[in-house]
């Protein structure tokens, strides 16, 4: 309990339970029931994702190979798996970023990580003719890493250091500038533009399992780094001075966690295009259920992120027929009101 109290004290405004940890802990549902609920939500989301769409599929078609709708099921299963993986990665990356920067507004989309990955990939497409995912991945990593470092370095300059406000504005400015450069490159290259406009919104449709398989090793590596980093985050949440006093090498810790963020967000962007706001919403909701301990926040953020992206993709298929609303746009539709709500609630503390 002492650890949690300390963590709470070190992270003002990051979780609903920040005020009174004891009281909140007793009100919170137990860990087993939370796990069960979370897994159940993911399972329901997966089933819905297979069944719901432009064409409803009966569950029997899932099991029988000979059912006329079985190919539809296969296609939907593939995109569901991709959505699960990307959602888990984004949820985890968001939780990591929020912990690492002690910034309640951190999200790979808002802080320019996605824009960096996108820009690097478009440079690769137009300048070097890159067209395979294996070529996109290193580009996306490089772009994501550069953007992360740039945003934090620029925001950290000046008197107050990297406040959440300055990080968000720096991220927005960098995103706007990179988008202009990206558009400039695309205008020079009509063919890339045609494929790019569909990729740019973030979608899990029309991508096969092979895409996921290429990205999987990087996602797994990032997830392992992230999950083993839970204790680092808990210590960092105490503040740099205290963390150093407890024997942590904070710079090295930050680099390890930063690498995990780049792997997770970079791969997700390379696989599906930029999806913002998942990483923002998920950790906040999760903290409301499990408290501020990153040992719990990280795994539950994975589960909740996966569920959110799968559900967003499913709803997007039916919300504005006949066309699909891509998951990146659905995520913004959920995420923007949440972002505005967070700003109102955190108020002056920003």
């Amino acid at each position: 309990m002492t650890t949690r109290t300390l963590v709470d004290a070190g992270t003002p405004g990051t979780g609903p339970a920040a005020g009174s940890p004891e009281a909140a802990a007793t009100r919170r549902p137990g860990l087993p029931s939370t796990t069960a609920t979370c897994v159940a939500v993911v399972a329901v989301a997966v089933v819905l994702s297979v069944v719901v769409g432009a064409r409803a599929v009966p569950l029997t078609a899932v099991w029988s190979d000979t059912h006329p709708l079985h190919p539809v099921v296969e296609a939907r299963l593939e995109r569901t798996l991709l959505a699960l993986a990307v959602g888990a990665a984004l949820g985890l990356a968001g939780a990591l970023m929020q912990g690492l920067t002690r910034n309640p507004l951190a999200d790979p989309g808002i802080l320019g990580v996605n824009a960096g990955a996108t820009f690097a990939m478009v440079i690769g497409m137009t300048a070097f003719g890159a067209n395979a995912l294996s070529q996109f991945l290193p580009l996306a990593f490089a772009g994501a890493a550069l953007a992360t470092v740039l945003v934090h370095a620029i925001a950290a300059l000046g008197r107050d250091g990297a406040t959440p406000m300055k990080l968000a504005i720096t991220g927005a400015a960098l995103t706007a500038g990179l988008m202009s450069w990206t558009t400039g490159l695309l205008l020079a290259d009509r063919k890339t533009m045609e494929s790019f406009r569909f990729w740019q919104v973030g979608t899990v449709g029309g991508r096969g399992l092979d895409v996921l398989l290429v990205g999987a090793p990087f996602l797994v590596a990032g997830a392992v780094l992230a999950l083993t980093g839970a204790r680092l985050l808990n210590t960092l949440a105490l503040g740099d001075d205290l963390a150093r006093g407890l024997g942590r090498r904070t710079t090295r810790d930050r680099l390890v966690l930063g690498l995990a963020i780049v792997l997770l967000a970079g791969t997700a962007t390379a696989l599906t295009g930029p999806i913002a706001f998942v990483g923002l919403v998920v950790p906040h909701v999760v903290r409301g259920f499990v408290g501020p301990d990153y040992g719990r926040v990280l795994p539950f953020s994975m589960l909740a992120g996966a569920a959110l992206v799968v559900l967003a993709d499913t709803v997007g298929r039916v919300v504005l027929p006949p066309a699909e609303v891509q998951v990146g746009i659905m995520a913004a539709a959920v995420g923007v009101p949440f972002f505005l709500f967070l700003i109102r609630r955190t108020g002056r503390s920003l």
């Binding site: 300055k166 406009r197 002056r348």
Partner: protein, 363 residues
């Protein structure tokens, strides 16, 4: 305390101001206004120069004599078409939207007292743009209803941001605006995936901003609107220096909030009209205000901001058209690519200074 507070008896029983003191005060008040007049006329000359360069130079050079012959109706094969259908409308539109964005941006930055609260950072331009693309691509509108949709979109975003930010017009407003900008961006991107391949260029205009290929009728309409709006703005804006002191002080000095709200409304209209004509030319509204301010020794000046905006769009369009061989970039790409570093620089510099939160340091 002892330094700033003068001895009581001097301030209470002050002698009537001498002639000399009146003269000093008068000169002190005149100097900035003389400087301002000089600045505005200098900038007007700069706009004229950039305008001339845009029309006469480039890949097809036209002499001044030929230009006036063309303007007064003489047909010169080839040249007439290029000047009347491409170069001249582009340059005129650049000046008009530059004025609109420059003045509109400066209104936002000064009434909200934050250099970051420019219409393109807080999503107002993108709101106009998103409403316009939706009207064109999904509802099939064209002509003036599209412009009306753009104005409605800009107003809706401005009101939402203001409502979310509440009374704290500083950081919360900028953050709420960033969120709204992201929402508008994804709306535009969604529409972008719904149009067919031939409309991509059209939609792209609404994503980046371009002064290329606009009909004379649109330009005329914009000119007419600006001819009404800009003088009205300057009239209402006489209260600006007071509102910059903060809402409470302004109210205490007799400037009612409805007046600043009216000014904001004019700012939204200017931005929305500019976007309706040329798309959200990135960062012009953001850059023009601070540049004009620093040229004017830190004093807000709407006329100068408008002229700086016009120069930015003219130069950006010229660079986009001719700076890169066999590539015709829309002006919004150029201003966006070079405006973002400036925003970052402003952020870094603003953080170093104590007064950064008031917006006065943007000078």
């Amino acid at each position: 305390m002892t330094i700033t507070a003068p001895p009581l008896e001097t301030s209470a029983g002050a002698a009537p101001p001498t002639l000399e003191a009146v003269d000093v005060v008068r000169r002190a008040r005149r100097a900035p206004s003389r400087r301002h007049r000089l600045l505005v006329s200098g900038l007007a000359l700069l706009v004229l120069g950039a305008f001339a360069a845009r029309v006469l130079l480039g890949d097809y050079t036209v002499t001044v004599v030929d230009f006036f012959r063309i303007l007064f109706g003489e047909e010169i094969p080839g040249a007439t078409y290029i000047v009347m259908e491409s170069k001249l409308p582009r340059a005129v539109l650049a000046v008009l939207v530059g004025l609109a964005f420059g003045v509109g941006g400066a209104i936002f930055q000064t009434t909200l007292r934050n250099p970051l609260a420019s219409p393109d950072v807080i999503g107002v331009s993108l709101g106009a743009s998103a409403a316009a693309v939706t009207a064109i691509a999904l509802a099939g509108w064209s002509g003036w209803p599209v412009s009306a949709a753009a104005v409605a979109g800009a107003l809706a975003v401005a009101m939402t941001v203001r409502a979310v930010a509440g009374d704290h017009s500083g950081f919360r407003l900028v953050l709420a605006g960033i969120g709204m900008a992201a929402a508008m961006q994804s709306t535009i991107q969604y529409v972008f995936t719904r149009v067919d391949e031939y409309d991509v260029q059209l939609v792209l205009r609404w994503l980046t901003g371009s002064v290329n290929g606009v009909a004379w009728s649109t330009i005329g309409l914009l000119a007419l609107c600006l001819a009404v709006l800009l003088p009205a703005t300057l009239l209402v804006a006489r209260a600006l220096p007071v509102t910059e002191l903060g809402e409470d002080v302004a109210a205490g000095l007799g400037v009612r909030r409805s007046r600043t709200d009216g000014l904001m409304l004019l700012g939204v209209l200017l931005i929305a009209l500019g976007v309706a004509a040329a798309g959200p030319v990135a960062f012009v509204a953001f850059l023009a205000g601070p540049i004009a301010r620093s040229l004017n020794q830190g004093r807000t000046t709407l006329p100068a901001a408008g002229l700086v905006g016009a120069v930015l769009v003219l130069v950006g369009d010229y660079a986009g058209a001719y700076a890169f061989a066999d590539l015709n970039l829309p002006v919004g790409v150029v201003t966006g690519a070079f405006g973002a570093p400036f925003l970052l620089w402003l952020l870094v510099r603003g953080g170093r200074r104590t007064g950064s939160r008031t917006g006065r340091t943007s000078a």
